[in-house]
């Protein structure tokens, strides 16, 4: 299994890898010097031209990175304007004859957070072929992180509690169950957990957590990256049992987590249980809406006629025998079939 992964590069980044290069998640792929706030630099007056005339004398276009002393504009008669320090040229104001430049800060590394082989290198991005299993979620939060997978709960429907986060979780990607409170997420971050995979989370708690992180970042109290990915849904929704078992069987493997993109790569892994939109009789299914959200079961029968849900919505439906012992008629639109691992 391989997936193409794209690492976007900021303006003016210096790449450190070549095509064919094998990279590790913690490897620096490129460096960049992030620009600070923009400042004005007189151009027209130094060239002794009008503001409008000086437009044609610029040597650079917006987005160009200039080293200290590099030429920004020249008049052809020996007058020139040089960059006073390493900066990013943002634009030129033809009304007052100034250039808007942003000084470059200290060099910062750019990590890919993935293991794989570099397939292309450009000014805009580096592409890496990742050999591993991809698990896509329905939502997430945070940046790119990597770490070893560690199971934090024993059952797919179990809530991830703050007490399960200890020093052993530092730098790991924790796999939880049905939800985690804002307090648990805050503790996880404080303990240096790299990321968390959950069946679901209450949207409100996720937003509360994000809000506290923004405030802490504003006052400089947050360091390091942290990501959360939800696999099944929003609310108290457990991980599907088959997927939970798959994560269990890969505990200790290296994984990369992309919060905002809701993606997980697990390296050296078997394919995860695949899903199919339309379930058939005999399929193992997972339900996606309340009151059965996140529950797995077997589709026993598809009804001949459309059936009304308790809400009154009439839809093609089937009888599902859930793993918790309950049986219920569920709209087929709310079910996904889990493909058996050996199906091919």
């Amino acid at each position: 299994m391989s997936v193409m992964h794209r690492v976007r590069l900021p303006v003016g980044a210096t790449t450190l890898v070549e095509i064919g290069h094998g990279v590790e998640p913690a490897e620096v792929l490129a460096t960049s010097r992030p620009p600070g706030g923009g400042t004005s630099l007189q151009v027209a007056s130094r060239l002794r031209r009008s503001a409008a005339e000086a437009v044609d004398l610029l040597s650079v276009r917006p987005g160009t990175v200039l080293e200290a002393g590099e030429r920004l504009a020249e008049d052809g008669d020996g007058r020139e304007v040089l960059a006073p320090y390493a900066c990013l040229f943002l634009g030129y104001d033809a009304d007052d004859g100034t250039a808007l430049i942003a000084p470059l800060g200290a060099t910062e590394p750019i990590l890919g957070h993935v293991r794989g082989e570099v397939t292309s290198v450009g000014a805009e991005a580096i592409e890496i072929r990742v050999t591993g299993a991809l698990v896509a979620g329905v939502g997430g939060s945070g940046s790119a992180v990597h770490g070893e997978l560690r199971m934090a709960v024993h059952e797919p429907g179990e809530e991830l509690r703050a007490g399960a986060i200890d020093v052993g979780a530092t730098g790991r990607i924790m796999v939880g169950g049905s939800r985690a409170s804002a307090e648990t997420l805050t503790r996880a971050r404080a303990m240096g957990v790299a990321g968390i995979v959950l069946g679901g989370v209450l949207d409100k708690e996720l937003r509360d957590f994000e809000a506290t992180q923004v405030r802490r970042r504003e006052v400089g109290g947050v360091r390091g990256d942290f990501a959360i990915v939800m696999i099944s849904g929003f609310g108290k929704v457990g991980l599907d049992a088959a997927l939970f078992a798959w994560f269990q069987s890969h505990e200790g493997r290296l994984a990369s987590l992309f919060g905002a993109a809701a993606r997980i790569y697990v390296y050296d892994a078997d394919p995860p249980p695949a899903r199919r939109a339309l379930a058939r009789v005999g399929d193992r299914v997972i339900a996606h809406r309340r009151p059965f959200a996140g529950l797995g079961g077997e589709l026993v029968r598809v009804l001949d006629l459309p059936h009304a849900t308790p809400a009154g919505v009439t839809a093609r439906s089937g009888l599902v025998r859930f793993e918790d012992g309950r049986s219920a008629i569920v709209p087929l639109a709310n079910l996904e079939a889990m493909e058996p691992r050996d199906s091919g």
Binding site: R8, L9, P10, V11, P34, P35, G36, G37, G38, V55, R61, P62, G63, L88, F89, L90, G91, Y92, D93, A94, D95, L100, A102, G105, A123, E124, V138, G139, L202, D203, K204, E205, R207, E218, G233, F234, G235, A277, L278, H288, R289, R290, P291, F292, A293, A308, T309, P310, A311, G312, V313, T314, A315, R316, V330, P331, A333, N334
Partner: protein, 540 residues
């Protein structure tokens, strides 16, 4: 064996999350909708056909039982579909509240999906803004900021940001900021890449998004959706609504609330139309609206607390092809629909219309017609006397993909199956809470003259008026109460047509005022819900 003559046509509307299909066939000389199916698009066309065949086998001529597959395969197929990929736009503006919000609304109303909004007051560093914009995978860029009477350096900085982050040939750039900076901004980009349009926010108090919206619509058509336009749902739906307006000599407002996007069409009696496409205005977009969960929880009353509603809204985004199973989820979904319709019709504001049409699975597939009527009534707030109908068979899109010479024939053939009439709404505003808002006398041919019905401010009543029935209304608004049009006398006469719900008398005002206290609010909301569903017989 005698050969049975059959004539079938297949109408298909393939949306981003749901596909709908209807079979029309000739029964005893009349064309009728003989089968209808809706399913998640991901299930594929073969399953959709199997669903239709199952229905035809159950209800069709048993002598054709083995032939429906073959008949459907050879049937005339009329299809429309949602654009395969929405146009993605990055918006860079000076201020989130002024230029940024104006630009964003104009872009979404033009059908663009705003994937990035960067403003110079968003609290991010320059490096973060640059990184965000460079990572943006977009089809076009919109830059806005500065008033027309000034040369704002911040507006120029916004344009410079785009110039720095955007790769050469990285899509068109539209400048909709200060007119005094146009020349400078054009110089920031390679020749032909940037174009200017009138400032959408020419000063602090004025918003003029029309020219920007028109330009963005034109660019969207040129650069992103060069598909067969006639079969695009937005175009086809507009075409059908225009044909209905022209056919009936009516002013029509139609809202198509899809899983991901929404479309609003206003059609004049001469058939001319104006359309706004809200790319994030569908059910999945509810969670993106400011304070959505709280608003929906308040509007629904019986959908649970804000946290529970927030999860439902996120589920609508994450799993747009799933269906509400519990009454609470349905209530939240329909309240979200009312909020989304409200957002669609208020930008730009709509003058009174004769007919409001609702389309999209949430509205047309509502379990009870009263729920569909409630979504249209609460979302649109159609002041005056207005007919309400839904596209229950999802036929408007496919029908609208027909040419001008065929659409009239198609409408005639479908006749009673074209729209499901819900009835007529009489909506007023003004008056003091608890006081009488209007007295309405309903005269039906062949019925004894009834006593007038008094509707109090804040009240919602329903009088029975079935499909195909008509009534003469004598409306006497109280002092300070308006039905929209200027009044020459204290009495207004109007004609009402019936439908699945009946005659709706709505004095809840504009906008609808809800009690602050939770218990009071829930009681009032439940009263309105019950009135629409159950009071039909009570006030006859």
């Amino acid at each position: 064996m005698t050969e049975i003559s059959t004539e079938l046509a297949l109408l298909v509307d393939v949306g981003s999350a749901w596909a709908k299909a209807g079979v029309i066939g000739r029964i005893r000389g009349r064309w009728r909708l003989v089968a209808h199916a809706a399913q998640p698009t991901a299930w594929g066309p073969a399953e959709l056909r199997r669903s239709l065949i199952r229905q035809l086998n159950a209800a069709g001529d048993p002598r054709l039982a083995d032939r429906f597959d073959e008949l459907l395969a050879s049937a005339n197929r009329i299809e429309c579909h949602t654009a395969r990929q929405p146009g993605r736009l990055a918006v860079v503006a000076v201020s989130r509240e002024l230029s940024g919000s104006t630009a964003r609304r104009a872009a979404e109303a033009a059908g663009w999906q705003v994937t990035e909004l960067v403003t110079l007051d968003d609290g991010r560093s320059l490096a973060e803004r640059l990184a965000t914009l460079q990572a943006a995978d977009v089809d076009a860029w919109l830059v806005a900021g500065g008033f027309d009477d000034s040369r704002s350096p911040r507006a120029l900085e916004a344009a410079a940001l785009v110039a720095s982050a955007r790769m050469p040939d990285g899509g068109p750039v539209i400048w909709a900021g200060s007119a005094q900076l146009t020349n400078e901004v054009m110089l920031l980009f390679e020749g032909g890449a940037a174009s200017a349009v009138a400032n959408a926010r020419p000063d602090a108090k004025r918003e003029e998004p029309g020219p920007l919206r028109d330009r963005l619509q034109a660019i969207l058509r040129q650069s992103v959706a060069p598909e067969d336009e006639a079969h695009l749902s937005t175009i086809a739906f507009t075409h059908a609504v225009g044909a209905i307006a022209a056919d009936g000599g009516l002013r029509v407002l139609a809202v198509d609330l899809g899983a991901r996007g929404g479309v609003r069409v206003v059609a004049e009696a001469d058939g001319t139309t104006s359309t706004t496409v809200h790319s994030s205005g569908g059910m999945a977009g509810a969670t993106l609206m400011a304070g959505a969960a709280g608003r929906v929880a308040r509007l629904a009353g019986d959908a649970g607390d804000e946290a529970a509603v927030a999860d439902v809204l996120q589920t609508l985004r994450a799993r747009p092809a799933s269906l509400p199973q519990t009454p609470e989820e349905l209530s939240a979904t329909q309240a979200a629909a009312r909020m989304l319709i409200g957002a669609m019709v208020e930008d730009p504001a709509t003058d009174p219309v004769d007919l409001v049409i609702g389309a999209g699975l949430t509205i047309s597939g509502a379990p009870h017609p009263a729920q569909a009527a409630r979504m249209l009534l609460d979302g649109v707030r159609p002041l005056g006397i207005t007919q309400l109908a839904v596209d229950s068979g999802s036929v408007l899109g496919p029908l609208g993909s027909l040419g001008d010479d065929e659409i009239g024939e198609g409408m005639t053939l479908l006749a009673d199956d074209l729209l499901l009439p819900l009835g007529t709404a009489v909506v007023c505003r003004g008056g003091e809470p608890g006081d009488a808002a209007m007295r309405v006398t309903v005269h039906r041919s062949g019925w004894p003259t009834p006593s007038p019905v008094e509707v109090r401010v804040g009240q919602l009543l329903v009088a029975p008026l079935g499909r195909g029935q008509e009534a003469e209304l004598l409306i006497e608004p109280a002092a300070g109460v308006s039905l929209g049009a200027p009044r020459r006398s204290s009495r207004i006469q109007a004609r009402a047509t019936g439908g699945a719900v009946g005659l709706i008398l709505d004095a809840r005002g504009m906008p609808i005022a809800l009690p602050r206290r939770g218990d009071d609010r829930r009681a009032v909301l439940a009263g309105w819900r019950d009135a629409l569903i159950r009071e039909t017989e009570r006030i006859a």
